[in-house]
């Protein structure tokens, strides 16, 4: 039966093409201020342009009405592990929108974009300093593209030494899926390494897997289990002795700022996700920006363009250059400049003191959650974590038949975004719940979260249906993902 709510709900979900009425326009039309030229041959022209016709006010209403259908950092606690969903400062958006930064064209002559180049150069320098590396490129557009660039540099390095047998890349089973996928796009073949009981790299398995075909090892620090590998010094020694390149996935740098420099430990290449650690907003799936940072021996291979600085009696001058043995371009231009402006604004705001304080608070907050939920959920690695902690809902699954997913969906009813679920993967941790609070949450918010998680665990025992049928208060209850894949409907069509 159609209730008023149901009817409205349906209306809200109506797509633009169904809201269209012939003759409506959604934007003012500029006047043609030059003489008209003859139109070209009709064979080149289109006769049907079936696009929506909707007024400006209706477009605003439509997109705004959908607002309460999303959780976001501005509205909700969002402890999504591995994603560093920290507060995104508003001033950064305003800075990125300054006309002198947002309106400049990527092909402008260098002398007309010295401010932009100076900003890029500074961010290269600052990131290299924070991670302890010799140089940086900020042209990758996300973490995965940085990984790809890093592994292409590893390839170029080996080939330049005539070492063309090195085709194998080792990656722990706890790594993010982009690590193996990026290594493959760069032309390598991937061997997965097990994680040991303590969550460290399994040294025996590593020893067994190395050989003269080893191109490199991709290691995430702290790992996606939220812990720092206490075998790290041995791992680095083994990989180095075997002639491999040590790749550091720095997506989790929010734990390490001012605490350790991965470059000083011996990593050859590290990437940073500026949309995690350095507050580029996630935008519902990007844009991000990736920095790829390298040690001395990989400097010649950095992607082009690279920003360099020269100084003479006329002052400083910044240029776009091509490193001598560059792996080439990752995109047509200089990368996601708008994200670089935000990262720069953020780092300049916090400065030296503030940047180190980030990691201290992020790590305290995560360990506090660990200490308070220990006993409520299984804790596969009961040791100090870094900026995030992995629990397992296996106890609830075994005892009451509710899964990690059910816990997540029930959490939604309290207005909290779920943690990352089923990553790390089930063969590393069963029913994993990866919780990353970040440093921008207050103790009060953490206490609320802890309380809610305990209540949910109690409900799992007393009234599991509450979890199994959750969420209860969202515009959609659980969605049929199998149906979506079996019978793909990927766009509106006129029926």
């Amino acid at each position: 039966m159609t209730t008023p709510e149901r009817w409205l709900e349906k209306h809200n979900r109506k797509l633009l093409m169904d809201r269209s009425a012939p003759g409506r326009i959604g934007a003012s039309h500029a006047r043609l201020d030059v003489p008209e030229s003859e139109l070209p041959d009709a064979a080149l022209l289109r006769d049907n342009l079936d696009m929506p016709e909707v007024s400006e006010s209706e477009i605003v209403r439509y997109f705004s009405q959908l607002s309460h259908y999303n959780f976001s950092i501005d509205h909700n606690f969002y402890p999504l592990g591995s994603c560093t969903m920290k507060y995104n400062p508003k001033i950064n958006d305003e800075m990125a929108a300054l006309p002198g930064l947002s309106e400049i064209h990527p092909f402008q002559p260098e002398e007309t974009v010295q401010g932009a180049l100076k900003l890029i150069w500074h961010i290269q320098e600052i990131l290299a300093e924070v991670v302890g590396m010799a140089g940086a490129s900020v042209s990758p557009k996300a973490g995965a593209e940085s990984e790809f660039a890093g592994m292409l540099m590893a390839r170029a390095y080996h080939l330049s030494r005539g070492d063309d047998k090195r085709k194998k890349v080792l990656i722990p089973d706890s790594a993010h899926g982009t690590n193996p996928a990026s290594a493959v796009v760069a032309g390598f073949h991937v061997v997965s390494l097990p994680t040991n009981e303590q969550g460290n790299t399994d040294l025996a398995a590593l020893e067994a897997a190395i050989g003269d075909d080893l191109a490199g090892f991709m290691l995430t620090q702290p790992s996606t289990l939220g812990i720092f590998d206490t075998n790290l010094s041995e791992v680095i020694q083994i990989v180095r002795d075997a002639g491999g390149i040590l790749y550091g996935d720095g997506a989790n740098l929010n734990a390490l700022l001012g605490k350790v420099k991965l470059g000083e430990l011996g990593f050859d290449v590290v990437h940073s996700n500026l949309h995690k650690t350095f507050t580029q907003p996630h935008g519902g799936g990007g844009p991000g920006a990736g920095a790829v940072l390298v040690s001395e021996r990989l400097l010649p291979y950095l992607p082009e363009p690279h920003v360099t600085r020269a100084e003479d009696e006329d002052g400083e001058r910044f240029s776009l250059t091509t490193p001598p043995q560059s792996i080439g371009r990752l995109g047509p231009f200089q990368g996601n400049f708008g994200a670089l402006v935000r990262a720069y604004a953020y780092i300049r705001t916090l400065g030296d003191v503030g940047v180190s304080q980030i990691s201290e608070d992020a790590v305290i907050n995560a360990n506090y959650i660990l200490s308070q939920l220990r006993g409520t959920f299984d804790l596969p690695q009961d040791r100090h974590c870094k900026h995030e902690v992995v629990f397992s809902a296996k106890n609830l699954k075994d005892n009451f038949g509710v899964s990690g997913k059910d816990v997540c969906k029930r959490l939604i009813d309290s207005g909290i975004h779920p943690p990352t679920m089923y990553f790390p993967l089930p063969d590393v941790v069963e029913e994993s719940l990866l919780i990353e609070p970040t440093e921008t949450e207050s103790k009060e918010t953490l206490d609320q979260f802890i309380e809610v998680m305990k209540l949910i665990a109690k409900e799992a025992e007393e009234d599991p249906d509450l979890l199994l049928n959750a969420p209860h208060n969202t515009p959609n209850t659980r969605l049929d993902e199998a149906l979506a894949a079996r019978r793909p409907v990927l766009r509106w069509s006129r029926d």
């Binding site: 979900r13 797509l15 633009l16 326009i25 959604g26 003012s28 039309h29 500029a30 201020d33 003489p35 064979a43 080149l44 289109r46 696009m51 400006e56 605003v60 999303n70 976001s72 501005d74 930064l101 002559p109 007309t112 010295q114 932009a116 300093e129 973490g143 995965a144 592994m151 292409l152 032309g187 001012g258 605490k259 350790v260 000083e264 935008g283 519902g284 799936g285 990007g286 080439g328 990752l330 995109g331 990368g335 996601n336 400049f337 604004a345 300049r348 705001t349 003191v353 503030g354 608070d361 305290i364 360990n367 921008t440 207050s442 969420p471 959609n476 969605l479 993902e481 149906l483 766009r491």
Partner: protein, 447 residues
Amino acid sequence: MHDTTATSHYSPNTDSDREAMLAAIGVESAANLFDDIPQDYRFPALDIPAPLSEFELRQELGDLAALNATPGDYACFLGAGSYRHHVPAIVRALAFRGEFLTSYTPYQPEVSQRTLQAHYEFQTLICQLTGMEVANAGMYDGATSLAEAAMMAARITKRNRIVLAETVSPAYQSVVHTYTQGHDNLQVDVIAADGSDIPEDAACVVVQQPNFFGYLNDLEEMASRVHELGALLIVSVDLASLGMFRAPGSYDADIVVAEAQTLGVSPSYGGPYVGVLACRGGRDFLRQLPGRIVGETVDTEGRTGYVLTLQTREQHIRRERATSNICTSVGLIALMSAVYMAAQGKQGLRHTAELCYHKAHYLASLIEDIPGYSLPLQGTFFREFVVQCPLPPSEVNRRLLDYKVIGGLDVSDRFENGMLLCCTDVNTRGEIEALASALAEIGANAS
């Protein structure tokens, strides 16, 4: 003066919060939480500048911005893959609402319907505009869309030769080389733009429409030649042109790639932008498509809703066997271009395309009459065209700055003293005429 606290305004923790939490954790100090880091490397100093207040930050970034010559203050005639347009106010107003801006990739569909529905709109509008059956939710930019499309075509056809027409953007060609360099089996060939020498074992032929130099080609015959050889036709299209010119779907393109920055996104010195990847709707294409795809489904109450779908192609499930390594993409920029397409709509897209067309042709007609300048190419162009200058273009551009004009792209490696000029809806008649008279003066002083 009152001393301010060490706590940043972005982080609520006070010293007493920290003490309370450390006590609950059972450690004496925060330093104990980092005991697992090798001692010699623990707590390095960071040599970065001291903090700035918001007031100081504004000044610093304002100063940096002031070092740039800003289009708007300057007339600007650059295009070549990044375009300036008037962007209706609602694009930013809607995209920058916190619900969109500060949400993650929609992995939890029940709390991400706004993002998912917006991306479904993007997919729909891109299909409507390009005439294709399916589009994904976006790639990093147009060039990576092209590289991914070429590798996708190789997987679909099980062939290894990627063929690029020589009139594809040089930067896009470079990106294809970057993306394929690790694959010893893949070969990249560049052929003449008329397609007269397509290799028989081509996996795909990539053409740009209008081509890099601004000119359109009738691609119908090209499509049938490519298909006869069992290859796929990939068209890299200027989306703004589709307000008036034929959609690639209508001349039988198999895959369409594009840069959607031209639809409502500022140039922002090269990014963030959003790449379009649209294709035929068959399972063989769907299985090989990279990137995120939103699909329609129903919830347990039978209500319509949207989810990320066909995820078994993606890295978080398929790892080393994924169709691509892409994860974080450019969702917000896809949303901006969806709002732009909605606001422009059927009439506005046509109108804006015509503004570009007429303004570019007016500029070309003025330049043709200036002694020493000529147009080396014949045919139909949309909003970009090549001009042969009496001086090296770098020199012309340098002198144009004195007239507060940012000239075109130097393409003298392809055409002697060639400059690629572009006009869009934001180039006023005043700017166009100022450029023409500046070129005339520069030309007159050249000899």
